[in-house]
Amino acid sequence: MKKVVFSIILSSIGILILIHIAYDPPLPNLGELKLKQEYAIKPTPSVDHTLFEELQKDFNSPQEVTEACIECHNQRHKEVIASSHWNWERISYVEDRGIASMGKSNVLNNYCIGASSNEQSCAACHIGFGMTNDRFDFDNARNVDCMVCHDNSEEYHKGSSMAGYPDRSVNLARVAQSVGRPQRMNCGACHFYSGGGNNVKHGDLEEALLSTTREVDVHMAANGMNMTCVDCHSAENHNMKGKLYSVSSSDENRLTCDHCHTSTPHMDRNLDLHTARVACQTCHIPTYAKENPTKMEWRWSDAGRLVEGKPIHETDTSGVETYLSIKGSFRWEKDVAPEYYWFNGHATHYVLGDQVDSIPIQVNQLLGSADDNRSKIYPVKVHRGDQIYDPETNLLIQPKLWAAEEGDSAYWKDFDWKLAAEAGMKRVGLPYSGKHEFVNTEMYWPVNHMVAPKEDALSCEECHRRDDSRLAGLNDFYMPGRDSHAGLDFIGKLLIIAAMAGVILHGLGRIVAAIKNKEIESEEINTNYNQ
């Protein structure tokens, strides 16, 4: 009886253990449900701007619209003038550099290289009017462009190379009466098309996000939460939350997933422990540029090939530009698996005038390492290419690319690197030796958008495996499943083989001996019998 009771108890425990191991209870993730409830209710505007008499008139210039805005919102322009969207420089402490003023005005990139001397064209993405050269008045409130962010009519757009002024076709009164909370297209007009086309720069920000599915982006999906950019990138006093590390360098005012999702969002302790050193994006954005390709490589050294004296452009079968005489050759990729780097929120940049110390030059560099407790592993788009450089002065060159007319030294009109380099470097006040070469450069873009549904997040094996681990490139720490001590594994296997061989030989020896002993015994018996 005791035996029966005992075995029943034992087998019950066994079954319970098996169930525990095999069964994954579908507990509701209350935190996530709460967030979904919160963001399901879309904000409604508290005023109707069409009813304001101040806006019911013909505006002769966009500045008049701004004046009308300031009449009521009489302090907001000050906030804008203090914001990152307005200023092209920002003072911050940068490792190895000290307190520095950095931003679009003095850092370079490896796409269209830099804004200096090309303001007339580049200002299409500045929230101001009349930026024709470096003498733009950053203190004039009349030049603040309220409409580019707050237009809800989808009518407003900046003119091409018009120094930040809207296109002449825009009906300013209609725009002024439509203003409200920024929509996706307000942000996208610049952030989707930066670098000269859709998805060129970021890879995770592009026009597909205007109307997309959960598979592409769980947050912005039309069949999902249908969130807009400013739902996360909130802008208390026009100070946008979030950092873009092509120009930013300090770990402040960042926007991270855990602001909403907390640092323990999983219903699993093992996964939650990862959040200490692995950014959410690493597992939850398995690939970027899911819908349309993004530029992965840009070779300025190929630029300048003319056919019958005229610039050309070539596209591949999918319709993306692979060559432009004015820009060089490109390589595009779609559905790209990111590269992974440690990142602690701080970045350094190549600033105009810096000496080139290693090649490829990292025009921006994400700082961090496994030993640094503040660092997490982030997915990164790395854009590689080559660009113009002065081998004598050892400086990267800011070329003058854009001009309205030929004969103004602009490369896009005259196709003369020497003139473009001379004019550009003169503008930024740096020497130019008269010689130029092309040097390889890299640029690092943390990937933050296009978060996949949780079913599509990376599985453990994508990183924790011997071969083809996603983190194969990050070798400054030990990761179970990926790493092992080759010597120990060799010796361990040797020990097992030795043990197996030992017992097999010993066993065979016993069998042979037993047979022999039996023979001797039977011989003895036989002899005894014979006697």
Partner: protein
């Protein structure tokens, strides 16, 4: 020959549960190590953790049992007949010589076994248990201010834990083989299953009394 009740109920439960857990931990552990793919990494990690806790609980009970029953004395190594025992396994066993030591309820282990199991209990098991616990609680600082056990590099912890695993596999292979060296190839294993073993003893009557008391 006398049928003797040598392995108590708890002893057998402990032995076989521990054997099963070690086997399971070896499989899941080497999957976590990246040696092969079987359950899937996530499942392997989870299962390894659950089995590890079960083993820790079992070990706690077995330590209690060993000390309360005094069975721990079985592992006190004796060196007097150690050489004879070694000679038996390397030579005598092939010549059909008898075992140099007698097995009894009070002396279940021969000198070589006692020494080996003592090594198992004092070196191999603590190595695996301690490195395993450190591995399990290995943390770096995080936003939740988790406990930090990151002063020892994970690489070292993993190295020692894996080393322990290789050693225990080697032990298991030899251990299983050695069970066949009893009176008959299956007599030892049968004893560990049923508790009873045929033992020769000159003080048979004394043993019988013992058995009655136990049952």
């Amino acid at each position: 020959m006398q049928k003797v009740y040598i392995y108590k109920k708890f002893e057998r439960f402990w032995h076989w549960t521990q054997a099963a857990l070690i086997f399971f931990l070896a499989i899941t552990g080497f999957e976590v190590h990246g040696s092969f793919s079987f359950l899937g990494y996530e499942q392997a990690v989870e299962s390894h953790r659950v089995a590890a806790w079960m083993l820790l609980i079992l070990i706690a009970f077995s330590i209690f049992w060993h000390f309360t029953t005094g069975e721990w004395r079985q592992y006190i190594p004796t060196f007097s007949k150690l050489q004879a025992q070694l000679r038996y396994y390397t030579l005598g066993i092939f010549k059909g010589e008898p075992h140099p030591t007698r097995k009894s309820v009070h002396k279940k282990l021969n000198p070589l076994q006692a020494l080996t199991y003592l090594g198992f209990k004092l070196v191999m098991a603590p190595l695996l248990v301690i490195t395993g616990i450190v591995y399990m609680f290995y943390r770096t600082i995080d936003a939740n201010n988790m406990v930090i056990v990151s002063d020892i590099p994970l690489e070292v912890v993993a190295f020692l834990h894996t080393l322990g695993a290789y050693l225990i596999i080697m032990f298991a292979i030899v251990h299983i083989y050695m069970t066949t060296t009893g009176h008959t190839p299956t007599s030892n294993i049968r004893a560990m299953l049923t508790g009873y073993e045929d033992l020769e003893d000159d003080s048979e009557q004394e043993l019988k009394d013992e058995n009655k008391k136990d049952e």
